[in-house]
């Protein structure tokens, strides 16, 4: 029963973390494409890289294309969540540093809406994906024998006896 209540919350936390990553990617793309950050050396390519990685990880975590069952899918989820935390933390650290001192020769000027949104999304992604890792740590998928094999839905009883 506990398994049933925990799985939806795990999915919800992962989905919310993925949405935060998509917001991060969206903000960086908007700044790169429409606020001319593409012209800034180093920072411009980093914004593009942030958009690509955040969007890819966000989509991976939100779309159920990987194996639903088994250890491989779970490990991919955990790796994507860890990578998402890295992307969000890297972006947040870079942004906060560039507000105080030049980073790669570039310094931000004030806390406009896009910056506040990026900080909020970075913080949310870090918190949610960390929570997902913590929850997922204690939520291992049951072995096939315990779950019931498709050809033997009653564990412990040989198929021939049913």
């Amino acid at each position: 029963m506990a398994e049933r209540t925990r799985t939806p919350s795990l999915t919800a936390v992962r989905t919310l973390g993925a949405i935060a990553l998509l917001v991060i990617g969206g903000v960086h793309y908007q700044q790169y494409q429409y606020d001319f950050y593409s012209a800034v050396p180093t920072i411009g390519p980093l914004f593009l890289l942030n958009f690509i990685s955040a969007a890819a990880l966000g989509l991976f975590l939100i779309v159920p294309v990987r194996p639903k069952q088994g250890g491989r899918g779970r490990r991919l989820d955990l790796f994507a969540a860890l990578s998402g935390i890295g992307v969000a933390a890297g972006g947040l650290a870079g942004l906060l540093i560039s507000e105080q001192t030049p980073l790669f020769g570039f310094m931000e000027h004030g806390y406009r809406f896009a910056i506040v949104l990026a900080i909020a999304a970075d913080a949310a992604a870090i918190a949610l994906l960390t929570l997902y890792l913590v929850l997922a740590r204690g939520h291992r998928p049951a072995p096939v024998e315990e779950r019931g094999h498709p050809f033997n839905p009653r564990p412990g009883m040989p198929a021939a006896e049913r």
């Binding site: 890297g90 650290a93 030049p102 000027h109 406009r112 960390t130 890792l133």
Partner: protein, 167 residues
């Protein structure tokens, strides 16, 4: 087991902070050959915003005391700056906490100041608020000349305070 998992969760965060920190200290390293490094403009106003002249492919244009090119924004129709937010991040204003100084060849009577929305004081020349361009990473670079961003063109200025409009 719990400690190991916690470390796994913290590791990418710590790595990202360290990488970002290295990037921060990397600024100001040796310049590329053929150009001289100039400090990036910061929010801290210089004691006196010095305006100088430097020879470039556009002729003699206004620069700061480190040789960084200064621009005017065509959207500024008065001494009041219309560049803030993302614009001010890419086009940082030349600010000064004291009366700006004129270098050799620069007319001191054309120098002035204007108050920005954030309370800082921006240097003006012939009534034009002056800006850097974030993509200029070394003295003598003029990558912002004659480009259109944030709704208007950006130009370098002559000693007379006139914009040079050819790219």
């Amino acid at each position: 087991m719990r400690t190991k998992s916690t470390l796994l969760a913290i590791a990418p965060v710590a790595a990202a902070v360290i990488i970002a920190g290295c990037g921060g200290t990397g600024y100001g390293s040796a310049p590329a050959s053929g150009s001289s490094a100039a400090p990036a403009p910061t929010k801290t106003a210089s004691a006196a915003g010095t305006v100088d002249l430097a020879s470039t492919k556009f002729g003699k244009i206004l620069v700061d005391n480190h040789g960084r090119t200064l621009y005017l924004f065509a959207a500024d129709k008065s001494t009041t700056s219309t560049c803030s937010g993302a614009c001010a991040s890419l086009w940082p204003p030349l600010t000064s906490s004291a009366t700006p100084k004129a270098g050799t060849g620069v007319t001191s009577s054309l120098l002035g100041t204007t108050k920005r929305g954030d309370g800082s004081t921006e240097v003006t020349y012939a009534g034009h608020p002056l800006y850097y361009y974030a993509a200029d990473t070394a003295a003598g670079q003029t990558t912002g000349q004659d480009i259109s961003q944030f709704g208007a063109k950006w130009y370098v200025l002559t000693a007379g305070g006139m914009e040079i409009t050819h790219g």
